[in-house]
């Protein structure tokens, strides 16, 4: 870990200035990702600003008039997941958060930090390896390497990494909006699905945040998914492991007919992957296993597996069906 200056500035404009003036300055949330990467010498910030004390972060979960819920960026993952309003209205978000990491990490991790956590690609983590994300132009170690954990959708010849977050998969399915503030207090709202990027030619950019911008909150619009939703995560061990594949599946049913559906997948792409092909197929259809199977097959047809992750196509198909089945079943195990 390189030396850095630690500050706890309260003034958000001041923070933006620091971030713009010093491209090597970083916000410090729970530190569960940033400090890990700093110890690995992957991240080398020269200045850290603690988010906890920044004025604009001090929002307290106001449920807006439209019935949407705003979760503060500095709120801890664990508290967000256990917020009674979230549990009741967006149970899939609670499940997604609770499926990630460990109780200790969820107590530390902030919602903003969760969005901006970086990939777990082993080549990204090992500074002895080539990695376009860490060092643009150095090559992608994973492309022809051990890419069992890597992307099957949306990758480029520059990077095949996946975004590791579980929470973000649920947020993508919930059509959340990322609230950011930039220089001079300028506010912006970014639809969640537009927040994270595909790697393209610039894999070093995980998201569309501009220099100087901080995430202040995440807004989740009201929906009627609570009854029929589920977050499914498949992994190499029973707990405390990143997803091989995960699925956030939510639907609104009227007499077993799907009147609204939203599906996102984790572990498959550089960003949470909205399964829009499957969604399109299912809209206005009966919630049956047969339909789920067709939808899943249609979606996974578009997958482009790498040398070691062919299994994700099959797993993705089955996980889509299972998650949809369970969502249709009131979120209960089938």
């Amino acid at each position: 870990m390189r030396p850095f200056k630690f500050s706890t500035t309260a003034d958000s404009n001041e923070v933006s200035k620091i971030l713009i003036a010093n491209p090597h300055a970083r916000l410090l949330g729970g530190g569960t990702n940033l400090l890990d990467l700093m110890k690995e010498d992957v991240e080398r910030p020269t200045e850290l600003v603690e988010v906890g004390n920044i004025d604009v972060m001090k929002i307290v979960s106001p449920a807006s008039a439209t019935g949407s819920v705003v979760i503060p960026a500095v709120e801890k993952n664990a508290r967000t997941a256990n917020d009674p309003a979230i549990r009741e209205n967006f149970p899939m978000l609670s499940q997604a958060i609770l499926s990630g990491a460990s109780a200790q990490i969820r107590n530390m991790a902030t919602n903003g930090g969760n969005l901006n956590q970086r990939t777990r690609c082993t080549y990204f983590y090992d500074v002895a390896m080539p990695c376009n994300k860490r060092e643009p132009g150095s090559g992608c170690g994973a492309m022809k390497g051990l890419n069992r954990m890597h992307a099957i959708f949306g990758w480029s010849d520059k990077c095949v990494a996946v975004h590791p977050s579980d929470m973000c998969v649920a947020l993508a399915a919930l059509d959340a909006v990322v609230k950011v503030q930039g220089a001079n207090g300028k506010q912006r709202s970014i639809p969640f699905t537009a927040y994270h990027r595909l790697p393209g030619d610039q894999p070093q950019k995980d998201n569309t945040l501009q220099p100087g911008e901080l995430i202040t909150a995440i807004e989740i619009p009201r929906n009627n998914f609570a009854e029929n939703s589920y977050y499914l995560k498949v992994r190499d061990r029973a707990s405390y492991a990143f997803a091989l594949i995960s699925v956030a599946a939510a639907m609104e049913l009227k007499n077993n007919k799907i009147v609204r559906v939203s599906i996102a997948m984790g572990g498959v792409a550089h960003k949470p992957w909205r399964a829009s092909v499957a969604e399109k197929y299912l809209l206005h259809k009966e919630a049956t296993e047969a339909n789920f199977k067709i939808a899943a097959a249609n979606e996974m047809k578009l997958a482009k597996p790498l040398e070691h992750n062919l299994y994700k196509v099959e797993l993705g198909r089955k996980a889509l069906v299972r998650a949809l089945m369970q969502a249709a079943n009131g979120g209960k195990t089938i």
């Binding site: 870990m1 030396p3 850095f4 200056k5 630690f6 706890t8 410090l28 729970g30 530190g31 569960t32 400090l35 890990d36 110890k39 690995e40 850290l48 603690e50 906890g52 664990a78 997941a81 256990n82 009674p84 549990r87 009741e88 149970p91 609670s94 499940q95 609770l98 499926s99 990491a101 460990s102 109780a103 200790q104 990490i105 107590n107 530390m108 609570a226 995560k233 029973a238 707990s239 405390y240 979120g331 209960k332 195990t333």
Partner: protein, 260 residues
């Protein structure tokens, strides 16, 4: 504890330890949690004096609690020094540290509170678990600088009022460890878990997640899931579960070895 022994007379080693202890000026509350003298007595009672007889000198049992104030710690060319004042096990601590220093390293290298363990230094094992303001967290991914004004409880601070924490007693009874290296983290984690269960917090396994949080009685699998952030490579998991179950339910948990 069914096989608890009667309080034993102190043997020579123990007497010597006690003498060494009381020639000092044992404060009642130190960062080590309880007074050394009380603790020693308890040590004899709880395990029938076994442990007092183990490979320890007074230094090892209670490393001198250097009362820590800014300036009294040897500072080796600190870069980007940060001041942080916080409480550790109820006692105030003021440190000036390198901005890079984690809470884990401050505890172990500066405060000689070596009960908190470093297993991976990257948030992947749980050995460094401590309780900050009531929440279990990883001290290896917590900067000391971020602890300003907080209350930190480590394994050394769990025993109170002459008593081991019930979780510590249950771990002894159920042999919830082998090498003991993950143990402080496991116990801190388990202690915080009891609180989480009381508050009705959910886990990924919670079936009726939409229901209002009420104090929950956790199933074995629920305890397993919620303790999965603490790795035990010796494989004491079933014993850890038995210990936690006993504390959680207030009922004796069975152990399942048998002779043929």
């Amino acid at each position: 504890m069914t096989d608890q022994k009667q309080a034993a007379d102190f043997n020579e080693d123990e007497k010597k330890i006690i003498e060494d202890m009381i020639t000092g000026d044992p404060e009642d509350m130190t960062i080590f949690g309880v007074s050394r003298r009380q603790f020693l007595k308890q040590l004899a009672v709880i395990t029938g004096g076994f442990a007092a007889a183990q490979y320890i000198g007074p230094d090892e049992l209670f490393a001198a609690p250097s009362v820590l104030a800014p300036g009294t710690i040897p500072i080796n060319s600190i870069e980007n020094g940060v001041n942080a004042s916080f409480n550790v096990n109820g006692a105030p601590v003021a440190l000036e540290v390198d901005s890079r220093m984690t809470l884990l390293d401050s505890l172990r290298e500066k405060l000689q509170l070596t009960g908190t363990k470093k297993g991976c230094d990257h948030g992947q094992c749980g050995a460094c678990t401590v309780i900050i303001d009531g929440n279990r967290v990883l001290s290896c991914l917590t900067l000391t600088a971020c602890c300003q004004g907080k209350n930190v409880t480590t394994i050394e601070g769990l025993a109170k009022n002459n008593q081991l924490h019930p979780m510590q007693t249950a771990f002894i009874k159920h042999d919830g460890f082998q090498c003991g290296y993950c143990t402080p983290g496991q116990i801190c984690s388990a202690v915080a878990l009891m609180d989480e269960a009381k508050k009705g917090e959910a886990s990924y396994l919670t079936e009726n997640i939409r229901e209002k949080p009420v104090s929950v009685q956790l199933s074995d699998d629920e305890i397993r899931e919620r303790m999965s952030g603490n790795i035990c490579r010796c494989g004491a998991y079933p014993n850890i579960i038995a210990a936690i179950k006993e504390v959680h339910s207030g009922k004796e948990a069975a152990q399942n070895w048998q002779f043929a």
